[in-house]
Symmetry: C2
Subunit: 482 residues, 2 copies
């Protein structure tokens, strides 16, 4: 029997936080004299109150939760926060359609960054901050989820990479989550503040610096400007954001070790080295092509290439140039980058670098196994043999990812999107990236997609963010048996 009480208790707790965070934008709205103060106050208070009542009604329950309740809490938590998080946009009227508001909020909490807004600058500051904050909260959630909760739930073959997380390794979720959360959130906060400071040094105002820092560190990609980072001309700002996107796409346990003086972890970590290689090779390929095509100068070619490559690989989704107008090859190339994803234990989404690494290594092993059928040829990661079950799980993850991408593309083509836009919208949603190709490319947004499509893409964002299996399990009959 599932312990529904503990599920509701945690959801209640999350809603209390959800509501409290809505207040965060109020000082800005007061300062800029915006008209959304009452909306934020009312929605924040209402959401917190509902959370408080839920929490109170379910207070008499054991605080330990088991795996099956864990899956449900994790999935429902994101949904509940988005359901309530969408309210300020609707009640204020800046996003009158609830479907649009839910899409935008789910896109926020999942750190996707796909938007339906056609005039971002017209929103009041409080709502803009709330929008950016959904991503920052989502990023916090994902760090704890990927480094503390999912490994315990056995999701996504990440068990062995989670072993590197500092903190006690117990079977019970509660103490471990708290311990890990405290250490990693400190790092998250530190980088966010550092980015705010550096962006302000480059001439970005305080409000925009905070917003962009929130959405950079979350690899979210919401901007306070309709033109995204292309709004800013300063190469300095572009480079700062490139650096922080790259940091946000790195495993936070590496940051933890580096900040404790163990810089050698970088050169020992196979995933990080592969991540660095992918970024360098992709950026060099794109910038070489751009320089040869001679559209921009050398520096701008390099910067635009690096920015777009890092932005898409880390699944941030900021934009300084539209790769679609560069030609067919770039369209294919950036579409493929939608599938890379950040490192495990980062705020990035997508398939994740470590999975690609293991798949490539296993591919070579498979060829060697054909030549030497009797030899035992394990896949090695960080000088350790990777157990077969993990390789199987990683391959199954990849196949599910492709499967959902394929089904999703069919659904979006039925909704009325052309082939490329259907593929792009699905790949960017499940990968939690933001921009894609076709009618959802960097120069466009998601406002033109029919309502059903928006709900469907929101669901894909959730699936992608929760490493597929969390959501897939809940929909599998085996989960509900006994």
């Amino acid at each position: 029997m599932l312990n529904y009480k503990v599920i509701f208790k945690i959801i209640g707790f999350l809603l209390i936080l959800d509501g409290l965070f809505m207040f965060a934008g109020i000082p800005f709205s007061l300062y800029y004299n915006d008209n959304d103060v009452f909306t934020l106050l009312a929605c924040g208070a209402g959401t917190s109150l509902i959370g408080l009542v839920t929490f109170y009604l379910t207070r008499n329950t054991d605080k330990e939760i088991r795996k099956r309740e864990g899956y449900i809490v994790v999935s429902l938590g994101w949904v509940a926060m988005s359901i309530f998080g969408a309210l300020p946009f609707v009640i204020h009227g800046s996003i009158p359609n609830y479907t649009d508001a839910f899409f935008e909020t789910m896109s926020g909490f999942t750190t996707t960054g796909a938007s339906i807004l056609n005039d971002i600058e017209s929103l009041p500051h409080g709502l803009l901050l709330w929008r950016s904050l959904t991503q920052w909260i989502g990023g916090m959630g994902i760090i704890v989820l990927s480094l503390a909760i999912l490994p315990i739930l056995g999701i996504g073959g990440m068990q062995m990479f989670a072993a590197e997380v500092p903190g006690p390794t117990k079977d019970k979720i509660h103490p471990r989550v708290r311990e890990t959360a405290k250490r990693l959130w400190g790092i998250y906060l530190l980088f966010t503040l550092l980015e705010v400071f550096l962006l302000m040094l480059g001439g970005m105002n305080f409000f925009d610096s905070i917003n962009h820092s929130f959405t950079t560190m979350a690899t979210g990609g919401f901007s306070t400007k309709q033109a995204s980072i292309a709004h800013y001309q300063s190469p300095y700002i572009h480079y700062i954001i490139i650096i922080f996107m790259f940091i946000a796409g790195t495993n936070f346990t590496l940051h933890y070790h580096i900040l404790h003086g163990k810089i050698s972890v970088l050169s020992k970590n196979a995933e990080f080295k592969f991540y660095l290689k992918i970024v360098i090779v992709a950026a060099l390929a794109v910038s070489t092509a751009l320089i040869v095509m001679n559209i921009y100068g050398v520096e701008k070619s390099f910067r635009d290439s690096l920015f777009q490559v890092v932005s898409i690989i880390t699944t941030t989704g900021f934009i300084t140039a539209d790769y679609e107008i560069w030609g067919s090859f770039f369209q294919v190339f950036f579409f493929l980058l939608l599938f890379v994803g950040g490192c495990a234990g980062s705020t990035g989404g997508g398939i994740k670098v470590v999975r690609h690494y293991l798949l490539v290594k296993n591919g070579f092993s498979e060829l060697r196994r054909l030549i030497h059928p009797r030899a035992v040829i394990p896949v090695r990661y960080n000088n350790q043999s990777v157990p077969n079950e993990i390789i199987s799980n990683v391959m199954a993850f990849f196949l599910f990812y492709i499967f959902i991408f394929v089904i999703g593309t069919m659904v979006m083509s039925l909704v009325g999107l052309d082939f490329l836009s259907a593929m792009g919208s699905v790949a960017t949603s499940i990968g939690n990236v933001g921009p894609a190709i076709g009618s959802v490319g960097p120069s466009f947004n998601f406002s033109h997609i029919p309502d059903f499509g928006k709900w469907f893409l929101s669901f894909l964002m959730l699936m992608g963010r929760l490493e597929l299996f969390t959501v897939l399990l809940i929909f599998s009959p085996a989960f509900w048996k006994s």
Copy 2:
């Protein structure tokens, strides 16, 4: 050390056959008074002679070959036959460019069916028959390859399905190949003759019936008409070809058992049942959509749906209607069907139904493993547990397939194709189908593709036909180390 002599000896033998088969079209050319008699005589004699000399020079060698030589013979055999098979087209002048002729011939021998011809009816009958015959020979080759040779070479996780092939199971390739070949080629010939007879009953002339029967049974799809099967108005002809495409896409060992009275094998074979289900579900989906759209009448909607679905799934590639003009959803849907493929042990290409079956079953098992981490949950096929190594191999095959598809799409976009056409040309080449989407859709052909692209696609056809690993192995460094 590789025994190069035995490799050349077998290639020599294949070239003798290659040359002799070229003579087959001569009676037709004489009858129709065509101008290609001398070309066919000269090319046939020349090719046979070169084969004979090669065979003679390498006669003093052991006739047993080992695995590593097997991989090379299989790959080089297809290449050598295409290199010489292309000559009649060039020497006669109907395909003046050798790249085009090689593409057409490789497309023949790999039973792909992609064509560069813009006016098929202008070719003399002898060359047309040779063109169809390349597919029929390729089909013969593939039956033996997939049911007798590849299982011994350990390619593609097909070992356990090969166990059902009648005949002695020895480690030495030679006797087994001969035994299996004799039994299965009899069935192949029988079905071909039956189709010729039934097509002639429907009013198709003898020449066209032979050609279309050759290319149906090979799941090749070359037609003697520029408009493919759409040239024929007769629903009877359409239905006959649907039936024989379906037969050609079925495992030939099943046909062997059925012809020996064991009809029950059909209901016991999980792959066949899955194949049937995929065809039925896909055809119903497409025809329902077409009937709702009310473009054609009910019968024509059903027939066109069934024809195109069976043609693409079996990787034949005959066409009676252009699914691209039906809309975006159909474009996506038929593109996905390019990845299905026929049954193992059929003449069909692609990923193959049994692999999809195992992947789906393993997906469910993986979810159950997450819920019950300590339970052993094997994947079952035909009431047997499938060993883990086979599941791994099938997953690796699928991932290599996707990987090559992705790299191929990048290459073709660099060659200058738009995104959809790049994807389509690669998927249809590696899947050995024929038509695809975009500028290589059913209403177009491959003549507009730059030369480099044609060579590249020819290579993909070969890779796909040889179940990837055969060719991949030869390009892996581990293969050449002792």
